[in-house]
């Protein structure tokens, strides 16, 4: 047929006819690496409208285009991402909106604030003539600092002085879980084994709870305070904790004696962490005015995003289609980033897609070659972060040297070698 003969390109794959495969592919890989850097424009837009720093965000469980944010002045805004518009504004609390979460069905959402209240709101904007009012308001005795909703049942958990688990229909908690007395900064439900809870308190510990037995399970005490944690949505027993000591720790909840991996790159306290829905990567927000993307199985970040105007990033979310990242920062803006900096948005032609895949594989294949690695790994950093990194490198080196010297000049065995993973764990309490 004519159509077949037009499209079919006869090829001879005899290797003698196509010499120099390695050099040719190397050149292609080099070009691909260069182009990737050329096209790396991750910043999409910023959503402005808040009148104070953005303190918390929540994803809509059923709609990709909707995102909720709560600010330090008690205002909650609902955004339409494709239009980059605020579609609804609620004055939810007096003082900070400490935490917010959407119900698993997406019909309502909860907020907690400094005014010791938990409020439930409808996701839909009020009808004509209706007033903007919460569906339920629960007045507590103490300040709530965080909230998370169960992934399947009508149950949510708040944290403050203790972890409270609430039935949506009741005004008093079903049960309160405590272990010692300290303010708990965040609580998160496990998305897979939904009866599991993780919390982190300001006395430097991470505590796991089992909702079925209404008992805490285990406690890990780290060197410094953990700000938040996030469960891996694809691996039931893995969670990552964002720590004040600039690092993130990925734990296997079955073996808490040492973290699976220590992720270091930030140069200031890590304030928030969120997993990609694929469970392969996570994004972290830091006080050092940048966000970083870490592969779960790597100790260092693959990407760092920053802009001149972005201040301390307080909250970060990875969207449910795994394509975008949202971060809310001190200077009242929410920023929308691409998760893959050089990815082309929109529909790709088959040939484009094939070329993209090929380039990706080439980059992977030649990633160890110095020239390509140099190009692929190059990132621009603001001077402040750059200098801090340098400074910390020097400090780390000095510490290492000192330890080496101490070991050298003391009785053999008296200064044991402690691996990086174990170094940051103070104790595990049963």
């Amino acid at each position: 047929d004519v159509s077949v003969t037009l499209t079919a390109v006869p090829r001879n794959y005899d290797p003698a006819l196509h010499p120099f495969e390695v050099p040719r592919e190397y050149t292609r890989a080099l070009n691909a690496a260069k182009l990737e850097r050329v096209f790396a424009k991750p910043f999409l837009s910023s959503l402005d409208g808040h009148r104070d720093g953005v303190n918390c965000m929540a994803k809509h469980p059923k709609s990709l285009s909707t995102v909720l944010s709560g600010a330090c002045d008690g205002e909650v805004k609902i955004w339409n991402l494709p239009k980059r518009q605020c579609i609804r504004t609620i004055q939810a609390h007096e003082g900070f909106v400490r935490g917010m979460c959407a119900r698993f069905c997406g019909t309502s959402f909860f907020t907690v604030g400094d005014d010791k209240t938990v409020k439930q709101w409808k996701m839909e904007s009020p009808e004509y003539g209706e007033e903007e009012e919460p569906i339920h308001t629960i007045l507590g005795k103490t300040v709530y600092t965080g909230i998370d909703h169960h992934w399947k049942d009508a149950v949510f958990a708040t944290c403050g002085q203790q972890v409270d688990i609430w039935d949506e229909q009741r005004t008093s908690p079903m049960c309160s879980l405590t272990w010692g007395f300290d303010s708990i900064s965040s609580v998160k439900f496990n998305p897979i084994e939904t009866y599991l809870l993780g919390s982190c308190a300001s006395d430097r510990n991470i505590v796991l709870y089992d909702m079925r037995k209404s008992t805490p399970l285990k406690k890990v005490i780290l060197n410094m305070r953990t700000n938040t944690l996030c469960w891996n949505p694809m691996e039931a027993y893995v969670f990552t904790a964002a720590n004040e000591d600039y690092n993130l720790y990925t734990f296997d909840m079955r073996y808490l004696e040492s973290p699976m991996r220590v992720h270091m790159d930030h140069v200031s306290a890590v304030l928030d962490v969120d997993y990609s829905p694929t469970g392969k990567e996570f994004v972290s927000a830091s006080f050092d005015k940048s966000i970083r993307i870490f592969p779960v199985d790597k100790g260092h970040s693959r990407e760092v995003y920053h802009t001149k105007r972005m201040q301390h990033v307080i909250t970060v979310k990875w969207t449910a289609d795994s394509k975008y990242i949202l971060c809310g920062s001190d200077e009242m803006n929410i920023r929308l980033w691409k998760a893959n900096a050089s990815e082309k948005l929109g529909v790709l032609a088959p040939r484009e897609k094939a070329a993209m895949n090929y380039n990706q594989k080439l980059k992977e294949k030649f990633q160890y070659h110095p020239k390509i690695r140099r190009i692929a790994q190059h990132r621009h950093l603001p001077k402040s972060i750059f200098c801090q990194i340098k400074e910390q490198r020097i400090m780390r080196e000095a510490r290492r040297r000192k330890e080496l010297n101490r070991r050298k000049h003391s009785k053999p065995g008296s200064v044991p070698v402690v691996s990086e993973r174990r170094k940051h764990i103070v104790a595990v309490v049963k």
Binding site: I192, D210, A236, R254, Y255, T278, N357, K361
Partner: protein, 749 residues
């Protein structure tokens, strides 16, 4: 209460019966008191009555004689007769006595801790069932998210609309208007009957129907293609035969028409008469045209030209023949063939089959002869005996079909040679469909039957025809003249035939001969040319060998080692020399160095292209002048660094310019440099791989789709083996033992 009361009454009446003295009075009084007290609602325990006089009375109404004595527990257990039945119990009792008091209950903290530990162990076991899935996902070549592919369902409009209500004044106004005009607001998109009918058709039926439609469409396209192809066919013979068959058809139709509607048949006959008149008027077949005149000049010497002219005349004659109108319906039988190009040989000129320009074929000749004869008969003579005629016609039809099939097969053969096997198959099916052309069944409806018959009946037919074809070819191409004659007449056919295997034979043999001759001549050349070259080579090699041998001989005696050996020094040295007695290390080293030097010398580059400016081919070598001209001698290499260092070889292979691009140390996941090199060496691109392999090689690790929400993994994604609690978790854990102090290990102990 009531029962109590009755009971009391009964008791009172009973007591009155046995009235005896004061004691009785006292007792009665007592009872009365009791009865009264029991009225208060609370039942009181009846106090025991003392019937025996004794000093010590226990509250349980037992008199105890030996109250002062101490009772020992063991005495109680002692039997009256000394028997060892309770000995074991006694022993146990004594043991119990020796034991300490029960421990205090755990402190609250401790208790909580125990609970926590137990809970942690069970929970981590629960969570462990995911291990297998997690590991599988981590190792997976490709992951596609979302894990569960959801099928988007469209919510019907009515459902969406029913939940919505008009609230704002504007909306209400609009709805008021709509209601007033009684517009249907929520029309069901489908009536119940329609939905029922939709449901009635099952998926299978729908599929079947779709398949049928597809088939019909394919057939239609086949037929269209066929028609187009036929239209393009240039062979005159083919068209001739085709027309003939058409004519037959028309004849038959006409007869039928005559039977059914004689009036219409008459009208048609008149039309035909008209055509005949036209032919008579025109000078078309009278050999008076330009071409005919030119032919006439040539005809004297050329048989073919003469033949062509005769054909023309015959045609004219035939066309002008008056149709005998005995019975009006039979006349047109011949006239419909009037179309000018029909070469029906008339008795005088056309009867000679050799003049037809057909391939002479013993098998077909009689048939061919018969064909025209029949035509004549049918054209001129009686049509009354319809039965006979029909038979004849059938025969003719079969001949024509055979001819048509010939063409078809020839074409097929051609296409098979050119096209892919699939096309070939398609053509075969076409041919199958064409063959029963006598019965004009509608393709779509008849298709199924035809296909069914194809396997059984048609193939033998084809085989027969193939045989016929083959025989034809054998006859035709016996001599070269035959082939040439064919070439002059039927180019198309000739082309077809030439490629067929048997026709090739003579040509092939001839070609072979030629090739052989050439080869022979070349071989001769080779023999003539090669020996001197070989000799030269041999000479060269021998020279080098001699040179190298000499060098060795010269270098060997200068060895210091050898001198030492002769000296016969210390024991160690002797040992070493004994150990290395067989091999001459220093000489080896020198040889090695010389080799390295040779290799590092730049090689001359030959840019000679054989065949440019002179004859080329196998066995021919470019001239000496040319080789000299195009042999590029490189500039001499810079002096080696180890030139003056007799005991050192400095390798100069390292390319400084390339090192910037090379990996200096083995990257992490690889364990050997061979592995890494292998990974680099295998190309990924479509230049080196087939399309399928390319797609496989470049498949991305993780695929996500824009606009699809990826839900966390859920219990449904767990394989069934893993969900069985405990047992499923084990293999995964055993596969990856991480640390000695795992909770599970403890559990297993």
């Amino acid at each position: 209460m009531a029962e109590d009361w009755l009971g009391v009454e009964a008791a009172v009446s009973a007591s009155e019966g046995e009235d005896e003295g004061q004691e009785d009075d006292e007792r009665r009084h007592q009872r009365l008191l009791e009865a009264v007290s029991s009225l208060s609602g609370r039942r009181r325990r009846k106090l025991a009555e003392r019937t025996e006089a004794s000093v010590q009375v226990s509250e349980f109404n037992v008199s105890c004689k030996g109250a002062g004595e101490k009772l020992v527990l063991s005495e109680l257990l002692k039997p009256i007769k000394p028997k060892s039945a309770l000995g074991s119990v006694k022993k146990e009792l004594s043991r119990v006595k020796q034991k300490k008091a029960v421990e205090l209950p755990l402190s609250k903290e401790e208790a909580k801790r125990v609970v926590r530990e137990a809970a942690y162990v069970t929970t981590s076991k629960d969570v462990g069932k995911w291990q297998e899935v997690v590991l599988q996902n981590r190792r997976a070549e490709q992951l596609v998210f979302p894990l569960k592919q959801e099928i988007a369902t469209v919510v019907p409009l009515e459902q969406v609309a029913s939940a919505w209500k008009a609230r704002t004044p504007l909306e209400q106004e609009i709805f008021g208007l709509l209601h007033r005009t009684k517009q249907p607001i929520t029309d069901p998109l489908l009536t119940p009957e329609e939905t029922a009918s939709l449901q009635a058709m099952s998926l299978e039926e729908a599929r079947q129907r779709r398949a049928e439609l597809q088939k019909a469409r394919a057939l239609q396209s086949y037929y269209e293609a066929k028609a187009r192809r036929e239209k393009r066919i240039k062979s005159k013979k083919y068209h001739r035969v085709l027309k003939k068959s058409k004519r037959r058809k028309a004849l038959k139709e006409f007869e039928q028409l005559h039977k059914s509607d004689p009036k219409a048949a008459l009208a048609k006959l008149e039309e035909l008469e008209q055509l005949r008149m036209q032919e008579r008027m025109s000078l078309k077949h009278q050999n008076k045209g330009k071409w005919a005149r030119s032919r006439a000049i040539i005809a004297k010497y050329d048989m073919e030209a003469r033949k062509a002219m005769q054909e023309q005349l015959a045609k004219n004659k035939e066309l002008m023949q008056k149709v005998q109108v005995e019975l009006p319906e039979e006349e047109p039988a011949d006239v419909p063939e009037d179309l000018p190009s029909l070469p029906i040989p008339t008795g005088a000129s056309g009867a000679n089959p050799w003049m037809l320009g057909k391939p002479s074929d013993p098998a077909q000749e009689p048939e061919v002869q018969e064909g025209p004869g029949d035509m004549e008969v049918s054209g001129a003579v009686e049509r009354k005996e319809e039965m006979e005629e029909e038979e004849e016609e059938e025969e003719e039809m079969s001949e024509e079909e055979a001819l048509l099939q010939d063409f078809e097969q020839k074409r097929q053969a051609r296409q098979q040679r050119a096209g892919s096997p699939e096309e070939q198959g398609a053509d075969e099916t076409e041919a199958v469909l064409e063959q029963p052309g006598a019965s004009p069944v509608h393709p779509v409806c008849a298709e199924g039957e035809q296909v069914s018959t194809a396997g059984g009946e048609e193939q033998p037919q084809q085989a027969q025809e193939e045989e016929i074809l083959l025989s034809e070819q054998l006859e035709r191409v016996q001599t070269l003249e035959d082939v040439e004659a064919l070439a002059s007449k039927e180019q198309v056919e000739e082309q077809e035939m030439l490629v067929a295997p048997r026709t090739e034979k003579p040509a092939a043999t001839r070609a072979k001969k030629r090739v052989q001759q050439q080869e022979d001549s070349r071989a001769g050349d080779k023999h003539a040319k090669n020996p001197p070259a070989k000799k030269k080579k041999k000479k060269m090699i021998s020279l080098q060998a001699v040179l190298s041998g000499k060098a060795q001989d010269v270098q060997c005696p200068t060895m210091p080692v050898v001198v030492e050996e002769e000296d016969g020094g210390t024991d160690q040295r002797r040992v070493i020399t004994e150990a290395f007695a067989g091999d001459d290390v220093v000489a080896d080293f020198r040889r090695e160095k010389r080799k390295a030097e040779e290799e590092s010398k730049p090689q001359p580059l030959s840019l000679v292209l054989p065949g440019w400016g002179e004859w080329g081919g196998t066995g021919l070598r470019p001239s000496a002048r040319k080789t000299k001209k195009f042999l590029l001698k490189p500039p001499p290499a810079p002096p080696r660094k180890d030139q003056h260092l007799p005991h050192v070889i400095l390798s100069e292979k390292r390319n400084i310019h390339a090192t910037a691009h090379q990996v200096s140390e083995l990257p992490f996941p690889f364990e050997r440099h061979q592995q890494f090199e292998q990974s680099i060496r295998t190309p990924l691109g479509s230049t080196w791989n087939t399309q399928r392999a390319f797609q496989k090689l470049t498949a991305p690790r993780v695929i996500t789709r824009a606009g699809h929400i990826i839900q966390p993994i859920s219990a449904e994604d767990l394989p069934s083996t893993a969900t069985a609690a405990g047992t499923g978790a084990k293999p995964g854990l055993e596969a990856v033992p991480r640390e000695p102090q795992q909770p599970f290990n403890r559990l297993r102990k």
